[in-house]
Symmetry: C2
C-alpha cells in the first residue's frame, strides 16, 4: 500500500459516484474515511463496498468533501463548516462561482472553504459505480478564491494527489468559462440534437447508429440537475452558444449551394476544423490513457480463453481491463488486454514465447 499524504480523518458527504470513488481511493491508501449520506441504503452499500465507515460522535475530520447536487452544495457546505469548526471544507460541484457567492452572501466562514471540481465521471451513478481509480490521471480543479490560508489548502492538495488526480489551479471564473465550453455547451447541443428526434418518423429513428447514440448519449441527463447547472453558469454558456451558432450559420449557408466549388471548400474547412478541435482533446477516441493495451488473437475453441488468463497470471501481470471480441464467423477472437504501461512489453514477450499471436 502506498502511504497516504493525508493524516487524520476525511469526511465524505454524499456517496454517489464521486463520493464513493473518493472513499475507495483513500481507503486504498489506509486513510480513515467517514461516510455520510441522506440515504441510509446508499450509505450502507458504500460501506459494504469498502469506501469507508459510518460516522461516530467523536469524529474529528480535518477535511470534508461535499459530494451532493449543485443546488444544495452551498447549503451543505455551510452546515459542515458549522458542524466541524476546525475542518477545511471542499465540494465537487461542476460550477464554482455561484456556490462561492451563495456562501459569501450567507455569511459562512469561507476562510475554511475552497471549492474544487474533479473532471471525472461515468455513465452510471450510485455507490456501486464508484471506482478507486476514477480520478487517476484526471484533472481536478481547485478554484482558489484567495481567502484560504496556504497551510489549510494544502490538505486538499494532498487529498487530490492521494487519489492520483492532476491538480489544476484556476480562479472560479476561469473554471466556469472552461467548463461552459467543454461540458455545459456539449450538453445543450446534445439535448437540442436529441430533441429533433422526438417527433421524427419511426422509420427514420429506427436507422439510428452509433454516431447518433454517441452525440445524444448525454441528452439522457437529468433536466432538473442541468437547469441548475446551466442557469448557475448562464453567461459563459451563452457566449459559447453564440459562437457555435455563428459557425452553424456559415455551414448551412455553404450547404445551401452544394454544387459550388467554394461551398465544398468551405464545408471541408469546417469539417477539418472539427478534426483539429477533436484532436486537441486529451485521451480522445475514448482510449484510457492510464493503461496500455495489447490485442491477443485467441483460437475459437473451448478453453483457450481460460488458458490465456491462467498464463497472464503465471506471467505475474495484473489485468486492469479487458475487452473480448468474438466474431462467430471469424476463426479467431480478439482479446484486448489493458495493463499498466510498464508491463506491456514484458507481457507481450511472455505471451509470444508461449505461442500466443499478438495482433497489436
Amino acid at each position: 500500500m502506498v502511504e497516504s499524504r493525508l493524516t487524520g480523518q476525511v469526511r465524505v458527504v454524499g456517496v454517489g459516484l464521486l463520493g464513493t470513488s473518493i472513499g475507495l481511493g483513500l481507503r486504498a491508501r489506509g486513510v480513515d474515511v467517514i461516510l455520510a449520506d441522506a440515504s441510509p441504503t446508499n450509505l450502507s452499500i458504500a460501506i459494504d463496498y469498502g469506501a469507508g465507515r459510518a460516522a461516530h460522535a467523536d469524529d474529528a475530520p480535518r477535511i470534508i468533501v461535499v459530494c451532493v447536487p449543485p443546488d444544495v452544495t452551498a447549503q451543505i457546505v455551510a452546515a459542515e463548516l458549522l458542524a466541524y469548526p476546525d475542518a477545511l471544507v471542499t465540494d465537487v460541484a461542476s460550477v464554482k462561482l455561484a456556490p462561492l457567492e451563495e456562501l459569501r452572501a450567507s455569511g459562512a466562514d469561507v476562510s475554511r472553504y475552497i471549492g474544487s471540481h474533479p473532471l471525472a465521471g461515468r455513465e452510471r451513478g450510485g455507490p456501486l459505480s464508484g471506482r478507486a481509480d476514477l480520478f487517476l490521471g484526471r484533472p481536478w480543479v481547485v478554484a482558489d478564491h484567495g481567502g484560504v490560508s496556504y497551510q489549510r489548502a494544502a490538505l486538499l492538495d494532498d487529498l487530490i494527489l492521494d487519489l492520483g488526480a492532476t491538480l489544476v489551479e484556476m480562479s472560479p471564473e476561469q473554471h466556469d468559462s472552461s467548463v461552459a465550453l467543454v461540458s455545459h455547451v456539449p450538453q445543450v447541443i446534445s439535448s437540442v440534437m436529441a430533441r429533433r428526434l422526438s417527433d421524427a418518423p419511426d422509420a427514420a429513428v429506427n436507422l439510428a447508429g452509433q454516431g447518433l447514440r454517441d452525440v445524444t448519449r448525454i441528452a439522457a441527463s437529468d433536466p432538473e440537475l442541468w437547469v441548475q447547472i446551466l442557469c448557475a453558469n448562464a453567461g459563459p454558456v451563452v457566449d459559447v452558444l453564440r459562437e457555435f451558432r455563428a459557425d452553424l450559420d456559415r455551414f448551412i449557408e455553404a450547404l445551401e449551394h452544394p454544387s459550388q466549388g467554394s461551398s465544398r471548400r468551405r464545408i471541408n474547412e469546417e469539417l477539418a476544423g472539427g478534426n483539429v478541435g477533436v484532436a486537441r482533446i486529451p485521451g480522445k477516441h475514448g482510449l484510457d490513457r492510464r493503461y496500455s493495451s495489447l490485442v491477443v488473437m485467441v483460437d475459437d475453441k473451448p478453453g483457450e480463453l481460460a488458458r490465456l488468463f491462467l498464463e497472464i497470471g503465471e506471467a505475474n501481470v495484473n489485468l486492469e481491463d479487458l475487452r473480448l471480441e468474438h466474431s462467430p464467423g471469424a476463426q479467431i477472437g480478439l482479446a484486448e488486454i489493458s495493463v499498466l504501461p510498464e508491463v506491456v512489453q514484458r507481457l507481450t514477450d511472455e505471451l509470444s514465447q508461449r505461442g500466443w499471436r499478438i495482433a497489436g
Copy 2:
C-alpha cells in the same frame, strides 16, 4: 452451420469494415465469397481473416456487393454491371438517390442495380475490424427504384437475411431524408462543436470529459468523405439543420434571462425534449441488444477470473463479449458477461449455485 438462403457465388468489391464483415458473415454460412479490392495488402488480410477467396477468371457471381467510398460507388457499380452481365449489383453507400441518378445518367443497366445501405459500423475501419455479426439485428435499407424485377431483388433479400440484418424497404428519397436526421446532421453538429475547441485555451481543453468525447467522437471523421456525403444529400440535411437552429435560438434566448422562472421552465422543457428524443433511439445507451449481460462479482485474488471462465465453459455457455472492471481499491472486481439472451437465466443459476455473486 445454418444453411444459407443464397445459392451460387457472392462477389464483394472493397474489403473495408463492411465488405469484410459481409464476407465473414456469408462464409459462416458456407457461401462461396469472392473478394476484390484495389489494395492487394487489404485483400490478402481479408482472405487470411476468413472473409472469402481471391477472384478466378471463371467466377460467375449471381450477386455483387460494392463496398467502396460514395464518390466512386456509381462508377464501380457501372463497371461491375458491365463485367458481370448476369449479376445483380448492389452497393452499401450511405446516400441512395445521387448514385442512382448518376447511374441512370451514365446509361448503366439499372434493371440489374438496386441500392442498399446497412446501418452498421464501428469506430475502426479496415479488414481486421470486420465482424461476421456486424449486421445482426441492424437495419439494412433496400432502396428500391421500381425498375428491378422481384425475382432479381430477392437475391439481395436473401443476402441481407443471411447476415442476420433486418430488411427495411424505403424509397431512395425516404432513405436520404431519414439518414439526414439520424446520421448526417449529427455529423455536422459534432464537427461544429469540435471546431469550437480548435482555438480554445489549453487549460479549458484539458478539462474535457467523457461527455465532450462522445459528442465530438465522430468529428474525427474524414472531411473528404463527408463533404461528398453532405453535398450528395444537401437538401434534406439543410432542412434538418434549420430546424435545429430554430431550437437552438429558443434555448439561447431563454438562457439569456436565467433568473426568470419562465426561462428555467423553457430550458427544462428543451432538455426534457432531448430526454424524449434520445429515449426513442433503439438500443440506446450503447447497450448491445443482441446479447443479454450479467455482472459477476469476482474476488480480487489470483486465479479467480480464470476459474470464472473455466466454469462458464463447464456450464457449456459461449461468452459473446466481456467487459472487466477492476478497481484497485475495491475488494471485488466486476465482470460484465454478454451471452445469448436464451442462456442468461441458466448461466445466472449455474454460477449462483457455484457460489458466484451476481451483481446484476
